[in-house]
Amino acid sequence: MQGPIVGVYGIVVMFAVLFLFRIPAGFTMAIVGFLGFMYVTSWQAALGMIGTDMWNIFSNYGLTVIPMFILVGEFVHYAGYNDGLYFATYKWFGHYKGGLAITTIMACAAFSAISGSNTATAATMSQVAIPAMRKYGYHPMLNAGSVAAGATLGVLIPPSIVLVVYGLYTGQSIGKLFFGNVIPSAILTILIAATVGYICWRHPDWGPAGDKSTWRERFKALPDIIDILILFAIIMYALFTGVVTATEAAAASCALGLIICLVRRKLTWKHFILSILDTLRISCLVFMIVAGAVIFGRFLTVTRLPFEAADWISTLALPNWILLWVVLFCYIIGGCVMDALAFLLVSLPIFYPIVTHMGYDPIWFGQVITIVTTMGSIMPPIGICCYVVAGMAKDIPLATVFRGGLYYIPSYILSIICLMLSPYWTVLCLSNLVR
């Protein structure tokens, strides 16, 4: 047995191991990739590949951006910016029906502008948003669902770890990916907020309106948002001008974030240590998935499966957009049954050549795929954001969180349709500005 069919068997074996044995996703990809590579080439070649490849992945300059973006998010998380952000957004949106849920989503979006992780956003925002909405008598489904949906913005809004990993894996510019993401993020945030409006219209008693704040109170609450905006602006400006690398932009925002937290006396020694430990831990698990995907990708490449599959698909007499929806459907299903980032990396070696072969822009595809991946984190049965929210709000059952999250699924689908209708005006008009 040789050629692409070995790759197909490899994929089947990899998924079987992933689902049946409790071996971490990154390790599974690396182990099956290593054994498959050995089968196609030789024991000696596989040994040589694993040694040099692992070192090359670990010492890859591009990948150092991952711990830096995680670190800045952790500093902000442990400094307790969530309270300030929530308080400030409440002053602006709290007086509408469902205002606290809209506040949650907007505060999540603001927090996501500095944090690249949805679980960090979910954990952070749950602490403030859930008790606040409970106090005002919000329905548990609207309460927990809005936090879970808002938290998904953590992986979408730059600096997004999913976009960074996608960019590094496919060799696309992280600056272009971040800038291309601005409009899609805005569309999704507005649609999620609009969904809250729809829910409150259908169920008027689910989200009672809060007290109205004066303009003076609103402007007084802004300083915390300004800190976050400064950090976000630095990252985006640095990437826009192209004078610094993504790692340098992230490191500089980290250093500045640390200084701001220290000057404002927001970060204790204990929280500083915790943010470093969490950074090492989260970076390590993201990295191992990337390393596993690279090794699995090596195996698929020697079987020639990705190229043959791309050729085969181009011979099908189907319009590209239908094929694209087939690919997206695979991501939705994949996102339902396994961790979204892991699935993204498992599938990129297979789908990326196919999609680029169909003529889609890689920066645009990155945005579409990130939205789909984002959606996976509130989809049952393993949507990670819902688990985090249910874990933080002990009195709200997991099923209620998932049911609350389902209301927001159409927003993601609508965002993808918007991106498909006009790739230029939604993504490329901004990403093309980056040098």
Partner: protein, 161 residues
């Protein structure tokens, strides 16, 4: 058994401290280089050192992350297994992880020896970089050891944490 558990815990703790220092050094160096560049004094070797520090940051967290079982596992089917089967599957998984990372550690060690013997130097700074490669090999040996301890614990002392 107790000795092995304590040993891996201590080793992982030491590596985490070193990793923590490395991540702060990485942040300082990359930021410092941006500032130096503004004043037209870029540090040419920053790119290389940042890469090496990045390797240390990630590799040194491997054992700790494995110890805490933080790596992402797909549990949709496995969590429905009966307790006994779950333990068997876990034991098997630890064994596979132990062997695989022992192989990885061995091969990175072989690679490190190769560049040590040939006195290979980094491209820009022209310095020996084999200590970093040896350090990564050591980190993989420790994740292998951590998984081995989990394996032995599952066999000889099930139910203990």
């Amino acid at each position: 058994m107790k000795f092995l558990v304590t040993l891996t815990n201590v080793l992982n703790k030491i590596l985490m401290i070193a990793g923590g220092i490395a991540v702060l050094a990485l942040m300082t160096l990359a930021t410092g280089n941006v500032v130096l560049r503004i004043f037209h004094f870029p540090f040419r070797g920053a790119y290389e050192i940042v890469s090496f520090l990045g390797a240390i940051v990630i590799a040194f967290a491997l054992g700790y992350t494995q110890r805490r079982k933080d790596h992402i596992i797909v549990e949709i089917l496995a969590e429905r297994y009966p307790k006994k089967l779950q333990r068997v599957v876990d034991t098997l998984a630890y064994l596979v992880i132990t062997i695989f990372f022992a192989v990885v550690s061995w091969q990175i060690f072989v690679w490190a020896m190769k560049i040590y013997v040939s006195h290979e130097v980094s491209e820009t700074l022209k310095v020996m970089y084999h200590p970093f490669v040896f350090a990564v090999a050591l980190a993989f040996a420790i994740i292998s050891l951590t998984a081995l301890v989990d394996f032995l614990k599952n066999i000889f002392a099930p139910g203990e944490e």
